[in-house]
């Protein structure tokens, strides 16, 4: 799955640690999501979407 978490985080001027703290997950999890090595669970994906104020489909793309 592809995602735009890194770009959205950058727009806010947040570090990975900042985003991790806001989502109550580890920085490793944020890094793994941004590098495509881990797909978040549905609750976490919705939390991310709510934090950035975007629809979930605009952030996560199922890809090929």
């Amino acid at each position: 799955m592809n995602n735009h978490v890194r770009e959205l985080r950058g727009e806010q001027g947040w570090s990975q640690a900042d985003l991790a703290e806001r989502l109550e997950v580890s920085r490793q999890t944020i890094n793994a999501i941004e590098t495509g090595k881990y797909d978040p669970s549905l609750p976490l994906a919705f939390k991310i979407a709510k934090l950035f104020g975007r629809p979930i489909e605009s952030i996560f793309d199922p890809g090929e």
């Binding site: 985080r9 640690a17 991790a20 997950v25 580890s26 920085r27 890094n31 941004e34």
Partner: protein, 143 residues
């Protein structure tokens, strides 16, 4: 703007979880370190009845229960990715240690390997050691 910030799970949350874990783990491990020699000395010197020997021999197990409890509580406090890594690490550890001790048991059964009475004591340290290595390798996959 910040980009990729390297490996590791450092951060406020990780430090908070680590502090909670150490608050539970350290006293329990200290209890083990203290009770182990006490148990050994009592078993060697005191003329204990069988029931007493059992109780004294099992003394070091009490603090280890709290060590294992601290490890489990730490695992359950982790976020979803960390818990996935923990689950995989524990599953692989059980498979590796289980198969190793299973195989050794067969060899001991036909006397191809010695069966020292203290052998069973090494199963838990072996599990903890294998778990540590496996967890480290699994976590690297997500960096």
């Amino acid at each position: 703007m910040n980009g990729h910030e390297g490996s590791g799970a450092n951060g406020k949350q990780a430090r908070t979880l680590a502090r909670r874990y150490l608050r539970e783990f350290v006293p329990a491990m200290l209890g083990y370190v203290i009770l182990l020699p006490v148990s050994i000395v009592l078993l060697l010197r005191a003329g204990l009845p069988t029931a007493g020997k059992v109780a004294v021999a099992l003394l070091p197990v009490l603090p280890m229960v709290f060590v294992v409890r601290a490890m489990l509580r730490h695992m359950l406090r982790q976020d979803e990715l960390q818990q996935r890594i923990e689950l995989q690490a524990v599953a692989i550890t059980c498979a590796v240690v289980g198969m190793a001790t299973f195989s050794l048991g067969f060899l001991q059964n036909v006397r191809l390997l010695p069966s020292p009475p203290w052998a069973m004591l090494w199963v838990l340290p072996l599990m903890i050691g294998v778990y540590g290595v496996v967890r480290f390798l699994l976590a690297r996959r997500y960096r």
